[in-house]
Symmetry: C2
Subunit: 309 residues, 2 copies
Amino acid sequence: MAILVVGSVAFDAVETPSGRRDRCLGGAATYFALAASYFTPVRVIAVVGEDFGADEEVVFSRRAIDTRGIEHVSGKSFFWSGSYMKNLNEAQTLNTELNVFQSFSPKIPAEYEDTEYLFLANIDPVLQADVRRRMPNVKMVCGDTMNYWIRDHVENLSRVLRNLDALLINDGEAKMLAHESNLVVAARKILAMGPKALVVKHGEYGATSFFGDHAFPGEESRTPFRAPALPLAEVVDPTGAGDSFAGGFFGYIASQPRFAPVVFRRAMFYGGVMGSFAVERFGTERLQQLDRKEIEDRFALFRQLSHLD
Amino acid sequence: MAILVVGSVAFDAVETPSGRRDRCLGGAATYFALAASYFTPVRVIAVVGEDFGADEEVVFSRRAIDTRGIEHVSGKSFFWSGSYMKNLNEAQTLNTELNVFQSFSPKIPAEYEDTEYLFLANIDPVLQADVRRRMPNVKMVCGDTMNYWIRDHVENLSRVLRNLDALLINDGEAKMLAHESNLVVAARKILAMGPKALVVKHGEYGATSFFGDHAFPGEESRTPFRAPALPLAEVVDPTGAGDSFAGGFFGYIASQPRFAPVVFRRAMFYGGVMGSFAVERFGTERLQQLDRKEIEDRFALFRQLSHLD
């Protein structure tokens, strides 16, 4: 089934120990959409400026991603520049220019209204809640956020959390949101805020999911699940790894006829798989040119990497 | 088959967010021996002072651990005190008194000479190499070390590494030993120093093993393996987690008739299992009172935590 992502489509400039790019297509919605597109049809709601042209459009259209929800306005697209020279695990933001994103007011095309799977990428929680409210027929909603919204907009964020099927954040964000340094206790506190499941991304150490009482209809499966990450000899550009994880994770779920614990666990693996591809090249280069066999081969490698037999 | 550990038997004082203990039996060899004792007969080579009495001896004898190699000399046992108040993942050493350990010169009882499995716990690499040389019939040797020996005694350490079947260290130690921040590249460099396998412990994120060309006789299995750690709501006392991991890991291997990749992978899980028990209570309290069923139940939980089906 189709999946709808609302989030940023942007231009990034990055420098990493492997090199630099002054302008590559980026943004959470872009990474998410590309990663999810290998599993299920994808629709995007975003806003871009006049600098977003045919070269960028084709990145989406080659993957058959529906871009009718990408609004084009006058001005420049969201621009972010960051450096991983000091720490490959955490971007140092050098510059953020919101540009057209500053007045982003998500518009939902009529053709999108039947979408059953909704991903709220990391944007203002007021917008996340607004989109969620205007999509009353969605079957499953997952979301992301970041330290800025957790620290300064937690009330707005809490309204989003109440209605999430799964929240996907990293260790530091989870601990900040729960005001708690132990991850298991933090997870319990976050699940009490509303999400039925919590996926905590650990970067090179993989990800762990925690489940509330109602995570799976009719099933009592509350054992956490830990998915590995691929040990990589070179991380070329970590940008978008988390969004690619989310795209693989939720894209796989949306592609399945039934939601169950085993689907969730496999989705965690596909999340790790897509994250591992994303960081192998700059920007979305690698995510643009995958095929399903490469993905399945790497899924098999993830299994080999973590399974006893 | 019996396993021999050479290392420290000590008294520890620790403070953690869960409380404090002014004097509990500790030392790498103690944690290792207790953890391994649930899998295979264990022999210990260490030195203790007059403060090591019947109360301490019984901790070993109740687990049928052979203590004929624990030398008793006049003076006080090795004493370490540390605090985890600032960071549960890394001890802050408050005080180290080497005492009788300062002049430790390992003596190998004649009854130990047939031992086939040797664990060189974290002690001076000169002593590690010496014990290794005097045990020419061992079938498999694993070892540990720490930042102090890596930084200031790397030449002596390199002589130990050349003859190891597996080196067990943590992330920081691996990166320091290889002068390399990427773990995969660091692992390659360390394997080039001699060990056939490298087990890197990630604390709450589990452990990853890397394999050289000759890790398994007759098998070409070089895919890394990642074992989970148990997400715990309370870590009472992290002291000895790594040594307990090593004890579960190597104890399981020594208990098996044949060494093969699947044995190594299961050993990684048993390592995680014993580490998870160790940190649930202060000192060795939890490791003293386990039974095999609890261990197997937790092994099953580790599988559930990380396996797709």
